[in-house]
Amino acid sequence: MTSPGQGFEPVFRDHYRPVFVFLFRLSGKEEEARDLTQEVFLKAYRAITGGAVLRNPRAWVYRIAANTWRTHLGRRRLWHSAVRRNPGGLPGWGPSGQEPGPDAALLSRERERRIRSAFERLSRGDRLALELRTSGLSYPEIARVLGIRIKSVGKMLFRARHRLAEYLKTEGIE
């Protein structure tokens, strides 16, 4: 007889790093991505020990990750509105205080900021579709995660890339 947690281990082992990268790209913050990754696998653990049957573990885990990200965005919106109400900053949450690095590091950070700014302009669905594809998910897997028809995936990816390319160009990223 297998223990309830036994099905969890391969899912965890195979997907921990990819899910972290997926969430890091969405979040841009290592600590936040770590916490979200843990939240994803705690949910997965609970579902598996609760008897969830996994036909496609990868699509299943990414679906949890996408939903966790969506929930997190809701929480973050509340946070952002709190920041807007306190333009002087919230107690204990000042800027990172990092010292300026060498020119190359500054340029790289500036480039990353511009890329992120372009990504932020995408709709949530378009962004998730692109992130999932970049994470290596197939069209059927993306369809399953997002709850859309397989036929719609190509359309969504085309639209997302087309828009993102435009936004990147306006940010000077060619």
Binding site: G5, F8, E9, F12, R13, Y16, R17, F20, V21, F24, R25, G28, E30, A33, R34, D35, Q38, E39, L42, K43, Y45, R46, T49, G50, R111, E112, I115, R116, A118, F119, L130, R133, T134, S138, Y139, K151, V153, G154, K155, L157, F158, R161, H162, L164, A165, L168, I173, E174
Partner: protein
């Protein structure tokens, strides 16, 4: 054949078209300049987006925490006995437990971080777990909770989830070490 659609070309570039559809598309592209230039444009956008994604990759991908063996590893399952507190008093008890846990955690974290730079992981984990044990009965079941304890460049993060039905609590300990200003997970 009709002109190729954008989503078809996209799926083709992503390797997601069936062999028959792929062949039909390639045959058409070979004889239609308009669709070839559309394909070229979609390919350029795709490459630009791929390059942008690479610019967002993390510099440090943490190793997954060790989960292999509950006895020798860092995953612990234990049952928390029922408190025996009646419904009537449960809210008061919960509030008291929460306050006690918060005070205990603050004292532990401050004392560990402030006085013992060479503190062992076992101690850090025990502190993180200690605050959980006090807190869990008062928390809603099924909600993951996270606690971090850090000292002397070492950190232990404990994650907890309580199964509503079985009352078994799953605790997951992650160790990390500070390196060049970042925290890297270690097994």
């Amino acid at each position: 054949m009709k002109h190729a659609r954008q989503n078809e070309i996209t799926a083709h570039l992503d390797g997601a078209l069936s062999p028959e559809k792929g062949k039909r598309l390639l045959d058409h592209l070979a004889q239609c300049e308009r669709c070839r230039s559309l394909e070229e444009e979609i390919r350029r956008e795709r490459d630009l987006v791929d390059r942008a994604f690479r610019g967002l990759d993390p510099s440090n991908i943490p190793a997954p925490p060790e989960i292999s063996r509950p006895t020798g590893g860092k995953v612990h399952s234990f049952s928390i006995p029922k408190t025996g507190v009646g419904k009537r008093y449960s809210r008061i008890a919960a509030a008291a437990l929460l306050l006690a846990a918060a005070a205990l955690s603050a004292v532990l974290i401050l004392s560990v971080a402030g006085r013992h730079p060479g503190v062992s992981y076992a101690e850090l984990e025990e502190h993180a777990l200690g605050s959980f044990r006090a807190e869990t009965p008062a928390k809603a079941a099924g909600r993951p909770m996270i606690r971090s304890v850090r000292a002397g460049g070492r950190a232990a993060r404990a994650y907890i989830i309580r199964d509503r039905d079985t009352s078994v609590t799953f605790v997951w300990i992650e160790r990390s070490i500070e390196k060049d200003g970042n925290h890297e997970n270690i097994l």
